[in-house]
Amino acid sequence: MAFDISKYREMFVEEAEELFESADNVLLEAENNGSLTEEEMGQLFRDVHTLKGSGASVELTLFAKFTHSVENLMDKLRNHKIEYLPEMAGSLIDALDIMKELLELEVDNELNEEVFQEKTKEQLIIINAYSDGKAASPEVKEEVVVIEQKVEQKEELDESENFGFFDEALDETQNNKPYGIFADDDVSNDTSNDAFGFFDDDLEEVSKTAETAKLKVHEEEDNFGFFDDVAELTPESNIEEQTPSTQVAVQKSTSPAVPATSSKKVDDKKDKTVKKAASTNNIRVNLDKIDLLMNNVGDLVITNAMLTQFTSTIDDTKTRNSVLERLELLERHIRDMQDSIMSIRMVPMESIYSKFPKVIRDISKKLSKKVDFKHFGDNVEIDKAMIEGLTDPLMHIIRNSLDHGLEIPEERINTGKSEVGTITLSAEQANGQMIITIEDDGKGIDHEKVAAKALTNGLIDENQYNTMTNNEKAMLVFGAGVSTADQVTDISGRGVGMDVVKTNIHKLGGALKLDTNMGEGTTITIILPLTLAILDGLDIAVGSQKYILPLSSIVESLQPTSEMIKKIGDGTQDLLMLREEFIPVVRLHDLFGVESTFEKLEDGMLIVVKSGATKVAISIDEFLDQHQVVVKPLDKNFRSVEGIGAATVRGDGSIGLILDILGIINAQLKSDKGITDSKRAS
């Protein structure tokens, strides 16, 4: 049997990301306050230790090799073999960066011994110098090189013991055991090459009987030797009792003498792990499984709705009512179940926040800016499915704030600000929505510059330019190809980032808001639905068809009068004049090719909907019921139709199409680009 290494590597890469994040955050804090607590040292060690062990398990040998050196240093730190120096934090952060790079290269099979040497050489000198209790100042570096060579040799010896030698073990004698039973004499022996072992107090007997027993039971296997009753095991036995005594015969003859290296001795002083009351009753569940469960409940909702509908065929009123009563109870239970499943999907915002401190540190260092990163609402919960879509946009916004928003310290002092800039990230839940704000106290967005650029790029025209508010102009940074950076940096400034932000947020069914004041800073607000799985929908009739409109997008609905409708252009485009505001009208009949039952808009209904700051009025026949719908994605087999976002199954078993407001707005903009000119004709 062998492992599917690629599968486990994938898992490891995911796990490594978390471990790196955890270690980075500890080190970032250490860098800021110049010290490390016992607990933090323990955590650092464990993180790196797991990285090494798991990395080696998925055959990332070179990654594990370098990580081993880092682990060695962390081990010494936590055991106080060496003292923590404030400058170590920076070096360790750099070392983690190298580990990340090595991991990526090795996973992509692009790492060989040569590249490894080149990438790690310098950092190893520093790390090993620290491990040897030397400060890694340039003066000692030369001296360190000599020591370094020795250390490296030792390290290699270590490596051969710790991983990558299983094949050898299989071929060789008993000495290279991958496991073993502990016996007293094991400890005294040079059994360092054993890959397994069993402890047993019944040593003398064991060592004598081992061979024969082994031959009897496991004739072809000579990779291990001892097994005996464990009954003799006593928890009280301690290290002192295990003085060198008898040697296990089978091992004595071929055991190579392995020098005890410094890294091993460290274990002597192993710290007592602090027992913490932690939430350990957790299991990791694949999100797909939860989605499936949600889907199942969705089907249950549908079946329930079918049953409810079926009751109309029951003639006897008394029977019908009592059936309905019970069905209501069932519906309540299903709703509770939905809520419970939703709560499984929710994770704290902290899981997103924790990705930022490292990025902010790296970028601010690069730009020589000073930043204080604050975050609020760490425990506010968000649908796990949204995290992926939200992380990138947040990262883009923060990078932009750092790059274009915050000023360099001198400039800040000159303008009377504190030299340290602040970026604040906060999250809260309100009105069934998730509100995330990213605030910086930088120089703000030069709305005129943005608008001028958008004008040049043809994103807006003169008319729009003249009627836009400052915030609306600044909002144009979310348009494609707009960047105010005079020089493109490798951090941001290519004008693609913010465009992606807008697209991603819209994909999540969210909206963006931007407030900026020159010289004071910028606040970007992201408004998201709490979940992507269920929405409150309104059934609307369009000709002979029924569609579902997400309730959250509805601003208002009305029966228009002929005075409210204005025609522009060649007379094909209608505008709704509503309280001094002109809103373009979209005839859903035309958009979806449904035969219209009325000609004049005032004979139908209008619903004003919005996505972000853009409003349109959609023309429909009438409103029907309002109900909760379980959102099901449209199969990829179908060609996407602009204006249709997803589907659901109705109570009667038929398919309902859910309207995508952003898509409708886009379709409207495409059909008549000039229309928005007169949007603010008032």
Partner: protein, 122 residues
């Protein structure tokens, strides 16, 4: 059917262990994410063998073993430690804590099974 408990803070390693054990015919495997979780789960059910990692948050593997040895049901049950080190010190500490044996990490499935078969057949 032998009931096994594996304790490791790495999901990936638990997966690898579980896979190897299941393939080897040990289908009744329970996972725990650290010492505290392991101890709690061990007390809730009766396991025939416990395999634990050493370095874990909240409670390390060695502490877990000594704690388990205080529980009457686990005084004599085999416990194997998974370790990346095969130094004498580690073994001494493993033994002192009350472990039955050790398995070096990374492990080869066949060798893991061999070790498991042995301790379970005793």
């Amino acid at each position: 059917m032998a009931k096994l408990l594996i304790v490791d803070d790495s999901t990936m390693l638990r997966d690898m262990l579980n896979y190897a054990l299941t393939e080897g015919g040990y289908t009744d495997v329970v996972e725990a994410i650290d010492g505290v979780d392991g101890l709690a789960k061990a007390k809730l059910a009766s396991f025939d063998l416990i395999i634990t990692d050493v370095n874990m948050p909240n409670m390390d593997g060695l502490t877990l073993i000594s704690e388990l040895r205080k529980v009457p049901a686990y005084v004599k049950k085999p416990i194997l430690v998974l370790t990346t080190e095969r130094s004498d010190e580690m073994k001494a500490k493993g033994k002192a804590a009350g472990a039955t044996g050790w398995i070096v990490k990374p492990f080869v499935p066949d060798q893991l099974l061999k070790a498991v078969n042995i301790v379970l057949s005793r």
